[in-house]
């Protein structure tokens, strides 16, 4: 675990105390920011603090989760490849405002990661150059990793033509 106090000081002087929530758990260093601040924090982390690599973008659905206040929790994991500092940046979103600025302008690698989050959770990344489904078929309706989506689906796995022996 590499010390992050310098980065945290820089962030504090730039963004003040607003929506400021840093914690450590099992050597994970986590920073929760407000959704509207998320892009500027990540931009600051990249351009000023040297977090040049985006490890992952993913999402958690906290529906029915014990003690959870918000519905969706976005996760950005960033790495400074020079100092070895890692930081997990979280931002929470609630329906109906499931929009957040895309970080593709900062890290090109976010392109497919954000498409996957959009595919599975339906979160719209504004400014994304090509926000289409990436894993599921284009015709698919719904977002299957949301907790209110039935595990066995809504019958889409049975919606195919049947080929009989004589047709083959």
């Amino acid at each position: 675990m590499v010390d992050l106090s310098g980065v945290l000081e820089q962030l504090k002087s730039r963004f003040g105390e607003r929506s400021w929530d840093y914690s450590e758990y099992h050597k994970n260093q986590r920073l929760v920011v407000a959704a509207d601040l998320c892009f500027s924090v990540l931009e600051f982390l990249k351009k000023t603090c040297g977090f040049d690599m985006l490890i992952d973008v993913t999402c958690v659905d906290y529906l029915h989760y014990r003690g959870a206040k918000d519905r969706f929790g976005l996760v950005y994991i960033v790495l400074n490849t020079v100092t070895g500092q890692r930081l997990i940046v979280r931002a929470f979103l609630n329906e109906p405002e499931l929009k957040i600025p895309s970080v593709v302008p900062l890290w090109e690698g976010a392109n497919w990661l954000e498409r996957e989050v959009f595919d599975m959770y339906g979160i719209e990344f504004t400014g994304h150059p090509d926000l289409r489904r990436i894993l599921l078929p284009d015709e698919f309706v719904g977002f299957p990793l949301r907790k209110d989506y039935p595990l066995r689906g809504r019958g889409e796995r049975h919606n195919f033509e049947r080929i009989t022996r004589g047709e083959g």
Partner: protein
């Protein structure tokens, strides 16, 4: 009436002869999508040597195959591909559903995994197991050979009987409305 048959001449039925030729040179199309594919490779390799049964010529073009071995789970997005490959194979052709996932969906009872390929394409042999051992696959090939010999015909008439066009039991349940069909049909025939 007695017919004089010269030496080196055998009399048989054309259907029997055609089936005998076909069953001993099955050319598999390996549709291997998961761990069953590894067992399928082991079946083709030297230790188990499926060449002993004349089925060693794995071809990756469906146009050159007459036995499709579906080894592994098939997801919604892959099923139209599977159907297209099946339709591209020339007649006569057969299909082995290898392993629990291809036959029933296996442990993957989720929104995206097809619960048995026999719902959407015809299947001749099912191999149980997760994954099946090569011996089991070889047994299925032997059983399929018996089936081809037993009911095969020169013109492939056995494929167009009414009984062969009926859906499997699971599919009949599907059409009775036990499974919702509210969404538009994805993919379709190639």
């Amino acid at each position: 009436m007695e017919i004089e048959v010269p030496e080196n001449v055998a009399l048989t039925k054309l259907d029997w002869l055609a089936s005998w030729c076909r069953k001993n040179s099955l050319w598999p199309m390996p549709f291997a999508t998961a761990c069953c594919g590894i067992e399928l490779m082991a079946t083709g390799a030297s230790r188990h040597d499926v060449a002993r049964f004349g089925a060693e010529v794995f071809r990756f073009s469906p146009r050159q195959c007459d036995l499709m071995i579906v080894a592994g789970r098939v997801v919604m997005k892959m099923l139209p591909v599977l159907q297209r490959i099946w339709l591209q194979m020339p007649e006569p052709k057969w299909c082995i559903s290898m392993g629990a996932c291809a036959s029933t969906g296996g442990i993957f009872d989720t929104y995206s995994v097809v619960q048995g390929i026999d719902r959407f394409i015809p299947v001749d042999m099912y191999v149980p197991g997760c994954p099946p051992r090569p011996e089991q696959l070889i047994q299925a090939i032997i059983d399929l050979q018996d089936k081809i010999q037993r009911e095969g015909s020169f013109l492939g008439n056995e494929f167009i009987t009414d009984a062969r066009q009926q859906p499997k039991r699971a599919l009949q349940e599907l059409e009775l409305g036990q499974v919702p069909r509210s969404l538009p049909i994805i993919g379709g025939k190639a």
